[in-house]
Subunit: 329 residues, 2 copies
Amino acid sequence: MKGVTVLQSGGSNQMELADLSVPESGQDDLLIKVHSAAVNRTDIMTREGKAGYAVNPILGVEVAGTVVEAAGSGSFSAGDRVMGLVNGGGYAEYAVMPANRAMKIPDSISSAEAAAIPEVFLTAYQTLFWIGKLQKQEAVLIHAGASGVGTAAIQLAKQLSDAKVIVTAGSRRKLDFCRELGADILINYKEQSFDEEVLKATDGRGTDLILDFIGADYWDKNLASIKHEGRWVLIGVLGGSELSKVNLMPIMSKYIQLTGTLLTPRSDSYKAELSKDFAEVVTPYLEQGKIRPVVDSTFPVEKVHEAHQHMEDNQNIGKIILNIASAEA
Amino acid sequence: MKGVTVLQSGGSNQMELADLSVPESGQDDLLIKVHSAAVNRTDIMTREGKAGYAVNPILGVEVAGTVVEAAGSGSFSAGDRVMGLVNGGGYAEYAVMPANRAMKIPDSISSAEAAAIPEVFLTAYQTLFWIGKLQKQEAVLIHAGASGVGTAAIQLAKQLSDAKVIVTAGSRRKLDFCRELGADILINYKEQSFDEEVLKATDGRGTDLILDFIGADYWDKNLASIKHEGRWVLIGVLGGSELSKVNLMPIMSKYIQLTGTLLTPRSDSYKAELSKDFAEVVTPYLEQGKIRPVVDSTFPVEKVHEAHQHMEDNQNIGKIILNIASAEA
């Protein structure tokens, strides 16, 4: 089968579409014929040798496809359309997925759309609800609103919690898209001071929850934007991980809870539980079209270099998808 | 009545034992004849003009005494011995306490001992259980083990959760005392690297919970001492509040939860709920002598300057108590 491996840690030119053996699936796995895989920042970090936890030589952590072998799994049979997280190996014609984290794809959703769901929606779900404990009608500040996780988080916060959704993004085009997904307060961080806008939007109280993909660059403004006893979930450091000065007093005097998290390096059992909870709660919304995956663009797997470059250019709204089925043609 | 006020923000010589009016108690208050009040760091900060939330001109946030007037309170009558937090006004012959946060004093406990209970035990209880969610037999790292909150936390963690209690302190005398209270692992931070000792004591996993009164000075070693998904509660900055360099990556990759808290500036309703929960759970342990207040020394209120100086010298193990009743003599 065809699959994308990395010659040497480095730029996108280090990726190669190679001839590889079909992977072996174990007793508790599904072997999946992959139709679509999505590109993630973690793939770029793995390609660059910076992720530190990838063991599979084939890139890719999420797929949508059709079950080929279901081994001892009671819940799935050959022919079922499934989506979910894989432990690497996604950019390939066949991939192995632990059966207990596979999710059935609603009929109304294409494979390309389905591949856009697992990583960003599970991350947003974990962050908003498992860690962030978002309550009905609370205010949530979502940075990078037009990113993959951002677009998922806006919809989940709005549909599941009727939250006041406050987003930041760097262009009118991105903010307009966030509004279409349900965001209430749109802040262009290039033109406005987001902490001032958050305080205006919350009658001076501050936001109940922050989803922070940015890290260092937004530290002080996040501190100013959060309410007393607010929760702040750190899930990315796109704005740097090194702070040159931190004052611990406001964390103490505002009773702030700051929690760090990542999804990809989590245990198999964690991913299984999260996928199960997510599928139970969110599948009805997907079936009814109230929540929708956001696909920015689709590339044939042969153009994986361009797909990575497109993500690195930071112009995408939503997910970048690789069409794997085309590799057979 | 006699009461201690501050002439001008500054050193301990700014405190004055003045003649003042007995305070007026409202419908939901108890008027208490104060026998003993305890000295707290927050009193020193108030004296120095640094606390920022004191409104009562009389110092002191916790007392033990006898109810004089119980107004509409159903739970207390004149003559009852009570202890609890007051909103300032503790260093005086009479003090006002909201009735819903008063706690009855077990017969076996003297007034001086009872005054040593509220602030440090409620803080330790809040930090360990309400915020830190300490579970049975988890490991907890308690810095400043011989401090007021430290000595309370050691006993609560051991008696209520059978935790593995790891403490740091700066002398053999202090560590021996921590052992008597039930601490399992004793670390002299002046002679040992506490993170290495914590990892040794937890088979390399790290501690489930950290009670951090230190802040900046211990930041990096706390990060190294905590386990994956560990909880870290920041309740003091004795080692400074300014960090000159912070890397956010370990917070994210270890899924750490850092929560800041303070007790004194919390709302009346928060203090009432906390006092109620604490009294229900811990009173039996106090009655049976399984948990005991730790009194370092007692000063007559006329020697309040010496009492403050003693705390600032940092040589106390447990609480410093002012004997107020003597002011009448």
